[in-house]
Amino acid sequence: MKRYFSWAVLVAGMGYFILPLVGLTEFSLSMRRGEYSFDAYAAVLADPTFRQTFSYSVVMALLTIAFGVLLVVPTAYWVRLKLPRLRPYVEFVTLLPLVIPAIVIVFGYIRMFNTSSWLPLTGSTTGTNLLLMFGYSTLSLPYMYRAVDTGLRTIDVATLTEAAQILGAGWVTILARLILPNVLVAVLSGAFVTFAIVIGEFTLAALLNRPAFGPYLQLMGANRAYEPMALAVIAFGITWACMGLIQLVTRFSKHTKAAR
């Protein structure tokens, strides 16, 4: 009896997630009357705005990942090594972006860095791009920090650091040759989450008025019928590909089986 109930819950849950996806996919394939076709996809891929916004977002995602890694790996490492008592507080700070809405963050940015402020970042395209990247980094901070911190837990940070130091290594060598390679899997999973967040992000990009993929999705959704569905399927595919890649790198790392 209990068994059937579990199955029923599972099926209902799967239906809840899968049915809309099936409907979405089905609709995106029905642009041509009476038969299934990839016409909507073709239309989307042929749209130059799609290509521009998509590549803009990909580049922004990569920059965000690079910045996030440079910020989070040394920070998480240093906190574990030298300030272990501050760990709960640092963790709390990294979780703040989850409770502070993106719109609050972006209004804060605009107030702080507008053209009449001490650092007029919004005055130039590069400045605004930079600001957007910082915003993305903030949004992905909870995931990135958690991932890296968990990765660091699998190695004996203090002893390995000392072992490297006594062999003559300085901080940069220790971070680049020892810490980063050992948390690479964690960093990559953080990176894929970051990628997925940045690709679909709407609020920051729209309010900073940058040509990103998120606002483009929204614009299409408001004006077309079939294309937005195709876009949604594509965006969904990217997210799933990211998740799949996380699984892959976890499985294919040679030495992590050793992690104690």
Binding site: I155, D156, T159, L160, E162, A163, A164, Q165, I166, L167, G168, A169, G170, T173, R177, L178, P181, N182, K254, H255, T256, K257, A258, A259
Partner: protein, 349 residues
Amino acid sequence: MAFLDIEHLEKSYGPTKVVKDFNLGVEKGEFVSFLGPSGCGKTTTLRMVAGFETPSQGTIRIDGRDMARLRPNHRNIGMVFQSYALFPNLTVAQNVAFGLKVAGEKREVIDERVAEMLDTIGLSDLGARYPFQLSGGQQQRVALARALAVRPQVLLLDEPLSALDAKIRVSLRGEIRAIQKKLGITTIYVTHDQEEALSMSDRIVVMHQGIADQVGTPFEIYNRPTTRFVANFVGTLTLLEAEVIDPALGKVRIGDTEAVLGRALPKGKITLAVRPEMISLGSVPGRETEVSGRIIDVDFLGSVIRLRAQIGDAVLVFDTFNSSRSVPPKVGATVTLSLAASDLLLIGE
């Protein structure tokens, strides 16, 4: 001045002093052990030499050079940790090469040195393995090779064998000592295992509550302990309360037996100590002091049999060798024990 020179070294954490006025000179090529119970400050002293802890007071010099302002990565010291601390993302060969790479050595030089070190530790075939594919003993040998590859001035080992099983521990300690002798490297070896310290060291520093109680060769430490702590900590010992009746001749009364130690003793009550192997069962020529007692415990250890006998108020612990021809005495048996009075150790405080 000795090659490695430690003077008036102290370390406090807050109000607690964990190392107190530590002085030691280690000669070039010498193997010195720090021996003491857990928490006595061995690791802290070693870490100050490595540069991981800053001394509260005192100086450390290596080859005449003050280490105070040098960070660990500039000290040219090799260190082996209890937990091996191999880099999990690097192969065995890459681990051994790490220090040489950091030092900016040429590729050919590194390859040659790594091969040489792997040969020294007998793991030439395992260069491509990752640490997790090795046994504990193999990992610790790799850690030793990694520490020695950069030709450090001093080698520090902090309880390197504690995490291994007994058999490997014994074979590896012989191996470490052999490599140390071959390379002639100045070494400090931290351990809480007296057998390790006694069998490997040129000299031993017995530590107790942050103080170096006694520094000496294994022979001196074992046969002439100067403090009650050293006497108790190293080897098994029976303490005997004695009263001096003739200070000049060294005549004492222990219970109702009298013995002549043949050396000058202080007046009054003293504490004497005797090792199990200094007492024989039955009368033995040269062991002229005889007492009789009752066996209260027989412990068969294999090659040796450890017995305990009640003599008046005292309990004497003594050993006899196993022999298939003579059966050891039974519990309750009355026996005669003999010892040479000159073997009795005088224990200070």
